[in-house]
């Protein structure tokens, strides 16, 4: 707890707040897209064959993205993951419930997009890899390296030049994740803010 308070106090010293209300036009999307880093979160859910058993996953995650070149962006994510596994109901096994951490690194690229004034609709593809550490109440701790590929559908909403975040992004995610004993699928809803 002391660590957290110290971190929060340190960050407070750098936080500024000033009301600015300038009559400016929105920023043209093509001006900002190539150079804007993003920060945001995602609520996800899915299924993975952890330990050979179908396991439901629910995750809360934070992510950052940084443009590399062209329409390619690098992404880094941290997720806190809840897991739950139900065995054969006839045998009445105890449900396995657990939790863990997962980190993903990857790349995403625009596959198609459509500009509508300050709104840009898009479909992006992504590739990457990661590592999860999950513990549950029955089988213990699992270290799960993975690789993933996915699609993201969403929109960018571009703001005024005086806006601290130049863009707001909302997206749906569908991702296939491969681990040592098979593959699973996850989906999610995310929101990101450009700097």
């Amino acid at each position: 707890m002391v660590k957290v308070v110290a971190i929060l106090i340190a960050l407070a010293g750098t936080a500024g707040a000033e009301i600015v209300d300038l009559p400016e036009q929105p920023v043209a999307p093509d001006v900002t897209d190539a150079s804007v880093s993003r920060f945001g979160y995602r609520v996800g859910f899915g299924d993975l064959p952890i330990g050979g058993q179908d396991t439901f996953l629910f995750s809360l995650g934070l992510g950052i993205e940084h443009p590399l070149f062209g329409h390619v962006r690098a992404l880094a994510e941290y997720e806190y993951v809840f897991t739950e596994t139900h065995g054969d109901p006839a045998r009445m096994p105890p449900p396995e419930h657990g939790s863990g951490h997962r980190i993903h690194l990857g790349l995403r690229h625009v596959l198609a997009d459509k500009q509508l004034d300050v709104l840009r609709l898009w479909i992006d593809g992504e590739l990457g890899a990661g590592l999860g550490m999950f513990s549950d109440n029955i089988t213990g701790t699992h270290a799960l390296p993975d690789a993933f590929a996915g699609l993201r559908l969403g929109y960018d909403f571009h703001g005024r030049r005086s806006s601290p975040a130049s863009v707001f992004v909302a997206e749906f995610l569908v991702r296939v994740i491969a681990i040592d004993r098979g593959a699973g699928v996850m989906g999610g809803v995310g929101m990101y803010w450009g700097n």
Partner: protein, 209 residues
Amino acid sequence: MSCVSSEVRHVWVSLALVLASAQAGADGHYVPVASHSISLGFSGHGTHIDGASETGGGPTLELALGVGRWQPFVEGMISTAGVGSWTMPAVDDRVDGWMGRGGLGLRWIARQFRPDPSGAIELYLQAIAGVEKFWWHDGTRLTRPDVGVGFGTQIRVFPFHGFTTRIDVRLLFTPTDRESAWVSCRGTCTAATNDGSAAGFMTGMQFGW
């Protein structure tokens, strides 16, 4: 707090790294939060008690101060609560009751997007600590502390007294009864509880002025 040790520390460290990343890109002029505000809402939660899932939902009240991008707040919640046993998942084995929760927290506006001068869509991060009390219908009582971290989106409308709509998501860590976990799981079941904490979550929606 020794009762919520290693797993919570991992989350703190991860959050600190993310905060540092977020702060690095958080330039610009932010419209500050209101100096005083009150919020009403509804939240649902899912935690564990003695290895069994506990869920419920109910109304919330929050009183907050505002300093720049920071909002210290106090909050209260009255919620339904229900917990079942894995040995008898039938409805008649479920124990219901009520939960009351009070807490303190600190919220930070990490990002602010202003599509026009009248409002903003904001990303916030927060840390909380509180106390939960359960009143079960079978007469049992339980009081336990919790700590948590969270994030969410809030939409503020500046001309309308800063009216705020907030969607809130939190990780919640509560102490685990180790002895009960042994009994209900047997064998190697203590892996998830050997750090003395159990993870849950809380999510809700609030309207504030």
